[in-house]
């Protein structure tokens, strides 16, 4: 069978999602058999965009003009464009301070030193291009990545998840950290798919996978406030991974 041509690009992010892919050590030989990674600057050089791609996997959010150009270019050349990881899907940590004065923010970090390149308020990919599928998570689950790739070889995109972390947490018969221990767990509002990784270890969900469809924020805020977490606290925490959380 002809190998699928894939581009993997990293925009503003920590490269953790691309690393998650490289960490699929057991599956790498199989992956290289099925996929030709024509553009994967993090792992292979030289990195030149060339021809068309069956799929482009893009990590990170957009915060610089050249990233926007690269993204548009990838979109043009690819059958499927996939947002890889929370930053690409929701904005992520880089977008944490969206809404605040950028000049002031710049000075906080760089003082009066000149900055190498121009930046704008970080955006998730879907604000600029059509995204065909998303694999969320900080970083994404290895299993989800492999399923995405296996699906692509068959021309299929992943089926979206519609349940929150709580659903999986209950399936695992975990103690509920929020209702039973009054801990600040965001599982109620966070998209499932991680198998309730954190609560299963006794650690409250940080919301790293972004909002679940039909999240009932208003009611959740009530519940959190009964547990002593005010709305500002909750929204701040939620926006660490998805600045678009709004009331």
């Amino acid at each position: 069978m002809k190998k699928m041509r894939v581009a993997i690009a990293g925009l503003t992010a920590c490269s953790g999602c691309q690393l998650a892919l490289l960490n699929c050590e057991d599956e790498l030989p199989e992956l290289f058999e099925k996929f030709a990674f024509h553009f994967f600057p993090m792992a292979c050089s030289p990195a030149l965009l060339e021809g068309e791609y069956d799929a482009a996997l893009v990590e990170g959010c957009l915060s610089m003009p050249h990233e926007k150009e690269l993204l548009l270019e990838l979109r043009k050349r690819s059958v499927h464009l996939i947002a890889l990881g929370t930053c690409a899907v929701w904005g992520g940590v880089a977008a944490l301070r969206n809404g605040e004065d950028r000049e002031w923010l710049r000075q906080q970090v760089y003082g009066h030193n000149p900055v190498a390149s121009e930046t704008f308020e970080p955006l998730p990919l879907h604000r600029v291009v059509k995204v065909d599928a998303a694999v969320t998570g900080c970083p994404p689950e290895k299993e989800e990545l492999l399923r995405l790739l296996a699906g692509l070889t068959r021309g299929a995109l992943p089926v979206g998840i519609d349940y929150p972390v709580c659903t999986e947490c209950r399936m695992r018969e975990n103690l509920c950290l929020l209702t039973e221990r009054d801990m600040f767990c965001l599982g109620l509002l966070t998209l499932g798919g991680c198998g309730a990784r954190c609560p299963s270890l006794g650690v409250p969900c940080e919301g790293c996978r972004g909002p679940v469809p039909e999240a009932n924020l208003a009611e959740a805020l009530e519940i959190y406030s009964e547990k002593g977490f005010g709305r500002i606290t909750v929204l701040d925490r939620l926006r660490r991974f998805c600045p678009e959380w709004k009331l």
Binding site: A150, G151, R154, G155, A156, L157, V159
Partner: protein
């Protein structure tokens, strides 16, 4: 019969019908019930290995050689990759599931078939079955509407039947401008509007409907106006059938299960069922 495990089948032909639909012919074991013993209106579950499974109505007639015809709209998670299937590809089939159209109840009566869009697929199966037993029914009238002429399925076949005088055919498309190069006499109207000019004898007519759910309320009230009683109106409901055997809970219509109690219901059966006709 174990209906839990898909039975192997092979794509023998795939022919595009419109931009987003195609007619897929599968080769199966002629002795297997998927091929041999279904009723028009029943459905099967088609599996694309490694991608998933989806419910689809039979579109042809039970064959002796084990081939089955399915009309597939390539818009879903599984049906999209199926668009690039090629003859020889292996798939899986389970079924037949549910209740089909009550062929025996039609005996001696006139039949009014009303199809909207992809709803033509199961009604084609019904039409073929009725034509095979010519003499079973009286007049056969088909009202068929689609978005545009390019989306009218099986057009040649239907026009041919009309020419032979075995069916009375009325076609319509939703919007003018889409009717260019269309078949002769194709109207520009909503499907329910076709009923205005209809001449039926309500005392000896049954109706079989399959179309997008949005047109059902108007079609139903139109048929009632013509004088048809609810037990003479049969309609096929589309739900998200997953297991096909009344267990997954995905296909409920009120307190009924579309896979086990339907997908073809008489309007009388659906009386008081919330959400059946939306």
């Amino acid at each position: 019969m174990n209906n839990n495990v898909p039975f192997p089948a092979v794509v023998s032909a795939i022919r595009p019908l419109t931009v987003e639909t195609s007619l897929i012919t599968l080769d199966t074991d002629p002795h297997h019930p998927v091929a041999a013993s279904f009723l028009p209106g029943q459905f099967l579950e088609l599996s694309l290995p490694g991608v998933g499974e989806f419910p689809v109505s039979y579109c042809g007639f039970p064959s002796v050689d084990g081939s089955i015809e399915l009309c597939i709209r390539h818009v879903g998670h599984v049906t999209t990759p199926l668009q690039t299937a090629a003859p020889g590809d292996g798939v899986g089939v389970r079924g037949p599931f549910g209740h089909g159209f009550p062929l025996s109840a039609y005996s001696g009566l006139d039949l009014l078939l009303i199809a909207g869009g992809l709803g033509m697929a199961p009604l084609r199966s019904l039409l073929l079955a009725l034509l095979k037993q010519r003499g079973l029914c009286g007049r056969l009238t088909l009202l068929y509407g689609a978005r545009e002429t390019g989306a009218l399925l099986f057009l040649d076949e239907l026009l041919e039947m009309q020419k032979r005088g075995v069916i009375e055919l009325q076609l319509t498309v939703d919007r003018p401008g889409y009717c260019l190069n269309g078949p002769p006499d194709c109207r520009v109207a909503m499907l329910p509007d076709l009923m205005d000019q209809l001449d039926v004898d309500p005392g000896r007519t049954c109706a079989a409907i399959c179309g997008p759910p949005v047109v059902y309320p108007l079609l139903v009230s139109g048929l009632r106006l013509l004088g048809l009683t609810d037990n003479r109106i049969h309609l096929s409901l589309e739900r998200r059938m997953k297991c096909g055997v009344g267990r997954c809970g995905h296909c409920a219509v009120g307190t009924r299960l579309c896979c086990a109690d339907g997908p073809v219901f008489s309007l009388a059966e659906l009386a008081g069922t919330e959400g059946a006709i939306v």
